[in-house]
């Protein structure tokens, strides 16, 4: 299926379509995608880093696959994510606020979520609205739950989404990497450091 569809910042629609159903295809190994267009991974690294540096509230959402040190790889990724977060904090201006908000599990939160301390795939928009998050990165979230969230975010918020996926990637994110490792996360931190000062911070 050829497509004119682009995966862009929302709010897009009352019910936005799944990007895969609009003809957006996942990248092959070594590739990434930006707005649904397949690119090489370095190009996407630069775009993701610029997006973080130009956001008012750049935020990382680590999920259960990296949060609980359930194996060495998970622990390694968690350390790399902390490094990326610290790098972001160092590289943004005082007017920007880098955040790290976990998605600890996928349980629907009852009677309501506390959006200051967590995000949930069933209603991610609540955390994004509450914290005025304008760029976020999902990492360590099971693919189905991540896609669920990414569509809801695109539908109802202005937030720019990045997916650092350990499997095949996410069409529903605006930028998506695949086969994520701790090294790849550190590489993104290196890009953020490299571009520090070269990206115009957001205007108030």
């Amino acid at each position: 299926m050829s497509t004119m569809y682009q995966v862009l910042r929302g709010p897009e629609h009352f019910l936005p379509p799944a990007a895969a159903s609009m003809g957006i295809r996942l990248p092959d190994p070594g590739q990434a995608h930006i707005h649904g267009k397949i690119v090489n991974e370095d190009e996407a690294m630069e775009v993701a880093a610029r997006q973080f540096l130009s956001a008012k509230v750049p935020t990382i959402f680590p999920g259960p696959l990296v949060l609980w040190a359930w194996n060495e790889k998970a622990a390694g990724k968690a350390t790399a994510i902390r490094h990326l977060y610290e790098t972001l904090k160092e590289c943004v201006t005082p007017s920007q606020q880098a955040m790290l908000i976990p998605m600890p599990d996928y349980r629907p939160k009852y009677p309501k979520i506390n959006p200051e301390i967590e995000i949930n795939p069933n209603h991610p928009n609540l955390t994004i609205w509450h914290n005025k998050i304008d760029t976020c990165m999902f990492v360590g979230v099971h693919c189905h739950q991540a896609n669920l969230s990414l569509k809801i975010i695109r539908g109802g918020t202005y937030c720019y989404t990045i997916a650092m996926c350990a499997q095949a990637g996410h069409e529903d994110a605006m930028v998506s990497f695949r086969d994520a490792t701790a090294d790849k996360i550190r590489k993104l931190a290196d890009w953020v450091k490299k571009l520090k000062g070269s990206v115009e911070p957001p205007k108030d």
Binding site: A18, L26, P108, Y110, N122, C143, N147, K151, I152
Partner: protein, 402 residues
Amino acid sequence: MATQSLIGTKNRAGQVVADAWKLLHEAERTPCFYTGSEVIKEAVRRANCDVMIAYPITPQSEAAALIGELFAEGFIGDYFRGESEFAVMSQCAGAAFGGARVFTTTAGPGTMRAMENFPMWAGARLPIQMIVTCRGINSPLSIQPDTLEISYLLNTGMLVWHAETAQDFYDWILKGYMVSEEPDVHLPLALCCDGFFVTHTKDVVNLTPADMCLPPYDPYRSPVPCMDMECPPVRMMRDPFVMKSNYISYATHASWQQEVWAAIERSRKHTIRWLDGLIEVDRPDAEILIVSSGTAVSQGREAQALLEEDGIDVGIVKIKSLRPWPGDEIREATKNAKHIIVPEFNVTGWLAKEIRATIPDADRVYAGPHVCGGMTMPPEVIAADLKKHLGLKSESLAGRGS
């Protein structure tokens, strides 16, 4: 990756775990003369399955029983009989939630009885493989070949493939796991064939070595966690938030459903790679095409030969995958056709309806012949219907003594 690191090791039955692509494309094949049911058994022998759950219903009973022998020989981790088809499919879900590679078989009324489970499997992203040996589903009772049940599966969110031959069946059982277990797909597969025509006839089938098997399923690549009573979808039914009547609840459910159909779309690239395309085309330049799936394709080939004797050039389009639906491929294959005839083994002609909804100038599609209730479809009937449609004279095939 854990699965890759197991290649070259031995499984519980002493089979060598092989690279799936090499097993299916490079390993030596041995021709064997088997029934379709025996072929199912031989494919499952090599599929490294953890669990098979059985329930008797014709014409899949023989395959289900034969797989019991595999369990006795140590090739299947667990094997038991459910209380009904509904129970079987629910038990399959339980096993798959727990991270097992699951196989089952059903047919006709059994498929219909279990139907509630299939959208649940898809929504829960369970890559269960279910063989559907199609038969009549209506009253009065018929155990004979009829493909109407496939039409009910098309909107469940499952992958649906339709095998023509026992060789298709053998290869696709093994390839099916490779597609449906991809983390970006991770959906159940209904692998259908026309009951009796495939299951109870013998054919030469080229088998891969019996001492080699697929890599095991790796549940850690799943797009959802293994069974967790605290998480959706298991928690959906008891959680007030997700069951609540409000916009957020609706949006969650809508996004969830979209994700299932997105996964079917993602299966497209894997299915094309493993099945060598979603369709097969013979004589694409012909102005007359027979487009079909399952054994109706075989009958179409025979009709093609008959028509050729009369100087009528006819091409064949064999549809291998119904979900994902090969829309682009069918549009391309039929772009030069003036007449498209769709023979089917069911009363409604559901495949012709799908094709009509896919191509421009849909009045080119002639839906028929569609026989049902176990009737055979002699190639002479296809040829005669086509001639009649073209305004050519053909002999009456139904009458006697005239």
